[in-house]
Amino acid sequence: MTSTDFRDPAAKGTFARMVPNLRDLGTLFGLVVIFVAFTALNDTFLTVPNLVNILQQSSINACIALGMTMVIISGGIDLSVGPTAALSAVLAASAMVVGVPAPLAILLALAVGVACGVFNGVLIAYAGLQPFIVTLGGLSLYRALALIYTGGNPVFGLPEGFRDFLNGSLFGIPSPVVIVAVISLALWVMLNRSPLGEYILAVGGNEEAARISGVPVARTKIVTYALSGALASVAALILIGRLGAAEPTLGTLWELDAIAAAAIGGASLMGGKGSVVGTLLGAIILGALRNGLTLMNVQAFYQLLATGIIIIVAMLIDRATRGR
């Protein structure tokens, strides 16, 4: 039996860890299928500029979805990401417009995002309210604050320097993509290598066991919401950099797209499961889908139809690929 297995278990482990996990391979396969299909159907799809385009278009959703993934893994959900983004966007933009230097305004945006997240997190972790309800409340609350603060008007006139930074590129890769890549890397390390990551996985996997083992359950939850809030702010900054304006209505429906990306990437809404790579692939699948359908000039209603069908089919393929 096992006793005859003389391979060095440690070496085997390292190798195993280099291979992306099976679940992510399933998602990757789904993505490949979509790419192959669109490439066959349209000439423009598989060109470098279009691929860059897809990445760029997916970057905002990816950013939100990464934060959402952490929340989902810990067993929660964050419906308030869009309004959180809107609130930090308008506050940071107003600050820049009245002359606050961009780096400071960026910090302000992050602080606002974190504050929204902590507010959600405290109500969930300490008051024991359900995540769905708390962040649904947040969804209204933060949106209202953004609208009231701006009177409903967009904030225009962002400094050029700020916009240039976010619209620039590094070795031909658009800044937003680079930013999201760096964040992904950091989150990957956090989730897979840091104590916090283990705590998040543990809280979502078995809260009771985590508590008994001395995991700071409440603090862990709050951190995931804070992270989600902070990443919503980053997404907001990327967006207002691109748009040149901060609108109090920005971020509508972001939560659904983000949850979809995370779920396609294998996150389970029951908690305990989810991966950074999977979520990124999920976001790209959704981005590629929209891009491909538009390239093929599919009419809006049929785009909706195709989106529905492809999401389900992709999930079926994924399921079949990795077996039961």
Binding site: N50, R242, L253, N297, A300
Partner: protein, 328 residues
């Protein structure tokens, strides 16, 4: 060139659609193989489909290849941006966009401008940096309805507004136009002004509740027709159809039918098909390097049972005639 932020309702550099031909001559025929793209807000509202029809009429007339794409719902800002960007990468000669918000299409517009593709902002959110805008005066929608009350209800009374989605330009302007005008008259009171998110069901519920509180209400103004038709049902359910008038905005076919049936009192038609035609013609003019004013104002008119037959036509030439008449 540094353009001042656009306010489509007040921009002085403007021209009425009816004067285009007189000032700039007939629409110049585009070169062979011209491709034009349109990005709409959503196709789930007849208004935007009608606009597309208008685009298509003119495109067909001049042998232009036309592609019309829309986001999946009103409010899908990023989706619309992706669509616009993807379209631009396909090499169109001009782009007609109706943005979800004032800012959500800015990168696409910038990209197009960089590539030398003329971009027209067609209704209703206004991109401040837009070089060209075709559409009606949103505020005028509300003003028109307020004027009806002032003219037809000299005794004044209580009125209510059912607003569109909070924060949307068209909703804000229409409400402001109505409220400012009617309150200026002195003897009217706007007892309620609440949002129903362009949703017929929410409009029904809001109207029912408002009637609870104000059984002596004399009229509603709704920011679009879908909501107005919901309000009509609430008024009927309360048995107040003889006392309460209901106005909508847009002029979709269901609104016309309802006016004919004697349910809806009126709607401010902004003639989406015609608007689409005008916008496409403006695009062709711009491609021929005509130096048009920044804003081309398209028509709107308050439709009631009295004048419905004049405007109710699929014959665009006849409609143009009808609309030109008062303009001159």
């Amino acid at each position: 060139q540094e353009l001042a932020p656009l306010n489509s309702d007040t921009e002085p550099d403007r021209i009425d659609w009816s004067e285009l031909e007189a000032q700039f001559g007939p629409v110049p025929a585009p070169p062979e193989g011209t491709k034009i793209g349109g990005v709409s807000k959503t196709l789930t509202n007849e208004y935007w489909r009608s606009l597309g029809e208008g685009y298509q009429h003119v495109a067909d007339q001049y042998g232009v290849e036309f592609t019309y794409q829309a986001a999946q719902s009103e409010g899908d800002q990023l989706g619309q941006l992706s669509i616009a960007e993807t379209l631009i990468s396909q090499g169109f000669n001009a782009l007609l966009v109706s943005p979800q918000t004032d800012a959500n299409l800015v990168p696409a517009v910038e990209k197009a401008t960089e590539a030398g593709i003329p971009v027209l902002n067609v209704n209703d959110a206004v991109i401040p940096s837009a070089e060209h805008y075709v559409g009606n005066v949103q505020k005028g929608n509300g003003v028109n309805v307020a004027q009806w009350f002032i003219d037809n209800r000299p005794d004044g009374g209580k009125v209510a507004v059912i607003e569109g989605q909070a924060g949307v330009y068209a909703a804000g302007q229409r409400t402001a136009g109505f409220t400012e005008t009617i309150e200026g008259a002195g003897n009217f009171e706007v007892v309620a002004s609440v949002p129903a998110d362009w949703d017929r069901q929410k409009a029904y519920d809001a109207a029912a509740t408002i009637l609870q509180q104000n059984p002596d209400l004399i009229g509603f103004y709704a920011n679009n027709d879908g909501m107005a038709l919901g309000v009509v049902e609430a008024v009927k359910a309360a048995g107040l159809q003889d006392q309460v008038v209901v106005f909508g905005t847009d002029g979709i076919s269901d609104a016309y039918a309802s006016i004919r049936a004697g349910d809806l009192t009126g709607t401010v038609d902004s003639f989406p098909v015609l608007t689409g035609e005008v916008a496409m013609e403006v695009a062709l003019r711009l491609m021929a390097d005509q130096d048009l004013p920044r804003v081309v104002a398209t028509p709107q008119a308050l439709i009631t049972a009295d004048n419905i037959e004049t405007y109710s036509t699929d014959d665009m030439a006849a409609l143009r005639q009808a609309l030109m008449a008062p303009a001159q």
